[in-house]
């Protein structure tokens, strides 16, 4: 099979679930062996769009995911820089520590951290939820930025510094443009991971913070396919939009191949 066919097959596999959501969100009373739903109805979907709970969930998800994405870059960029561009004792160990959260199940960290966060009065706050999302998010941000920095030529920065640029100017005019694609990809990745967090949001949010996945999970526990599909569409729409916006960064330069001189 040629690569082209393989890519088409993959695309098909990725599109089918979305098509199924579309059908189920609007088909009402569709039972086997009927070939066609009893009727098509957008009422349930539109009601979810108007529902204050869903709107609040959407807003809070948006705030949290955006915040996490910013925080993750703020913390992840310096970390990745030090880990990739400096040689020091214990570097491998620290790199490993960064990846520990990907191995430990989030229920375990979540339950323990909930008690700590409750004591610190961070539980039930947007900031608390953002902080806890950083645990699963940071490893991927550091990995993405790190692999890009592995090919990064610091001589450009030295050159600018020699010519008299301040460290801030060096970052703004040299590092940032060179690393932009991987920063964008890392930021989007952070957003995606935060957007789909359930267990950690549930535990740390304690019901005061309601995110879309929490609404989605509680709907899923009821087994009403139309409701689940409607909420799923609302859940994936911003992600598709976001991916569309950054599509040009997602190609080959994504994980690091900034052009070398």
């Amino acid at each position: 099979m040629s690569y082209r066919k393989l890519v088409l097959l993959l695309a098909f596999l990725l599109i089918v679930p979305i098509a199924i959501f579309l059908v189920y969100a609007f088909a009402q009373g569709w039972f086997f062996p009927a070939l066609w739903p009893e009727r098509w109805d957008s009422e349930l979907f539109l009601r979810q769009l108007r529902d204050p709970q869903v709107r609040r969930g959407f807003e809070q998800s948006l705030v949290v995911a955006t915040g996490v994405s910013g925080l993750a870059l703020l913390l992840g960029y310096p970390a990745a820089r030090v880990l990739e561009l400096q040689q020091f004792r214990g570097r491998g160990l620290i790199y490993g520590l960064f990846f520990l959260p990907t191995v430990v199940p989030s229920v375990a960290t979540g339950i323990g951290l909930n008690i700590v966060f409750l004591r610190l009065d961070l539980a039930g706050t947007l900031f608390g939820v953002m902080l806890v999302h950083l645990i699963p998010v940071l490893p991927y941000v550091v990995l993405t930025l790190g692999s890009s920095l592995a090919h990064y030529d610091r001589n450009y920065e030295h050159q600018a510094a020699v010519l008299g640029a301040s460290p801030w100017l060096v970052f703004w005019r040299v590092s940032l443009p060179l690393l932009l694609p991987s920063l964008v990809v890392a930021g989007v990745l952070a957003f995606l991971i935060s957007w789909s967090q359930y267990v950690l949001s549930l535990l740390i949010g304690g019901g005061k913070i309601i995110t879309l996945p929490m609404l989605l999970f509680s709907a899923a526990s009821g087994g009403n396919y139309s409701l689940i599909a409607s909420l799923s569409l609302i859940f994936i729409a911003p992600l598709l939009l976001l991916l569309g916006l950054v599509a040009r960064y997602l190609g080959s330069p994504a994980t690091g191949a900034t052009p070398r001189p």
Binding site: F32, F217, G222, G223
Partner: protein, 429 residues
């Protein structure tokens, strides 16, 4: 340059280490209670003072959120009334499983919080027992609400929650009774099995067209299905009432497993797998794989039809005997941040007008009365309750059938014996 950079990193590491130490020690210091307990100051004998205290509060009601129609009923009927009558804002917090709320409350206790996030919980059964055991529920109010006069607290189905004494820790919301659902487009009412014995005959005459929900924690419907068979096989439910009786169990349980093992070969997929939730069974039923589903709603199939979960021709029915009925409740955690508003809401739930609204399938809730309609003396309200009961329509089981077959639940010890016994003697055999 390399050397200074390295030094800087070590300094940074040291700084971070110190910072985290400071944060950690702050954490353990604040473990002592920080906010004053607000729960003790409410005077339930002076209801007006409670309503005044609740004015302007937000009540955080944590409840299972899997049904769009129940969610809407709560927002439209309680949310609006709370705002208009008492200036209370309802914050309905949907959870996928009530055990999440139990865990939240246990974490809050662990962290030494006296003011938490949860004001009211929709609860019954094992979650109630856990919270009662952990002493996490407010206990001075259930039988003191003004509308509590409409509740029949002498009914063991009300004052025992899965065999656990309710005391004043909960207040009822609604009632439920075990029923089956069939499709009137496919089956005649006269052909329906009306006992467990007849169900086995039906299943073996129509192999693969019957299934039931696997008993187990979180699937009380399945446990109840097996428990009712125990009533029939042992010759009646009366002997099972009262305290747990090991001898009686040892006498009849082998016969019970015999029945279910005989039935197994005739079941959907020959009993190699069972639906785990009511909704899985509804889905099998709606798609014509099995002939019967299970519901607990007084509106029968009515609310399910409205939600498009089952075909419009679905109807509810009961066996001639041994159909277990019970109540579900709301409870207030002792750490509720807005206990006054929670009390007002718990009282509002028992308002006869809203009770009449909750049983009607078109309003989306569809469970039965939490109150006893005969205790409502106001003629207009009593008429409203009676007329609502007459408007349930075809998808509901006739009230006389329900009453004739109604049995109350039995001691909690049988619950786990049935769940473990079924797992060992039926599922794994």
């Amino acid at each position: 340059m390399q050397a200074t950079a390295r030094k800087r990193i070590w300094n940074l590491g040291l700084l971070i280490g110190l910072l985290s130490l400071i944060i950690a020690s702050c954490g353990s210091n604040t473990a002592t209670p920080t906010s004053a307990p607000s729960s003790t100051s409410l005077d339930l004998s002076n209801w007006t003072s409670i309503e005044q205290a609740a004015n302007g509060q937000t009540v955080n009601w944590y409840m299972w959120g899997g049904s769009d129609s129940i969610n809407r009923f709560v927002d439209e009927f309680y949310g609006k009334a709370l705002k208009e009558r008492y200036n209370i804002t309802l914050n309905r917090v949907p959870v996928a499983d009530t055990v999440d709320v139990v865990n939240q409350l246990l974490s809050e206790k662990e962290a030494g919080k006296t003011s938490g996030a949860v004001d009211l919980i929709w609860i019954n059964g094992e979650n109630f027992a856990s919270l009662k055991q952990a002493k996490l529920l407010r206990g001075d109010w259930g039988q003191s609400l003004p509308n509590s006069q409409y509740v029949n607290w002498n009914n063991p189905a009300v004052n025992l929650d899965f065999g656990e004494p309710v005391e004043s820790l909960e207040s009822p919301w609604s009632s439920a009774q075990f029923q089956l659902i069939y499709d009137s487009a496919k089956l005649q009412a006269s052909d329906l099995p009306r006992s467990y014995a007849a169900l086995k005959e039906y299943a073996c005459a129509n192999p693969g067209k019957v299934s039931y929900i696997a008993p187990g924690p979180g699937a009380f419907q399945g446990t109840r299905f097996v428990k009712q068979a125990l009533f029939e096989i042992s010759g009646g439910a009366e002997q099972w009432l009262g305290a747990f009786n090991q001898q009686l169990w040892d006498q009849w349980s082998p016969k019970l497993w015999e029945y279910f093992n005989d039935l197994e070969g005739c079941l959907w997929r020959e009993g190699s797998t069972y639906p785990k939730t009511e909704n899985e069974l509804h889905s099998l039923f709606a798609n014509g794989e099995v002939d019967f589903s299970i519901t607990q709603a007084i509106a029968g199939a009515g609310s399910l039809i409205k939600e498009n979960l089952v075909p419009a021709s679905a109807r509810a029915f009961v066996f001639d005997d041994n159909m277990i009925g019970d109540f579900n409740y709301v409870a207030i955690p002792s750490t509720a941040p807005n206990p006054a508003a929670a009390l007002v809401l718990a009282n509002l739930i028992l308002d006869p007008q809203l009770q009449a609204a909750q049983i009607l399938p078109e309003n989306g809730f569809g469970l039965g009365y939490g109150i006893d309609p005969t205790k409502v003396s106001d003629p207009a309200l009593a008429a409203k309750l009676a007329s609502a009961a007459q408007q349930l329509g075809d998808p509901a089981t006739p009230a006389s059938d329900l009453a004739k077959s109604l049995r109350s639940d039995i001691a909690a010890e049988y619950q786990s014996l049935i769940e473990q016994g079924w797992d060992a003697n039926v599922l794994r055999k």
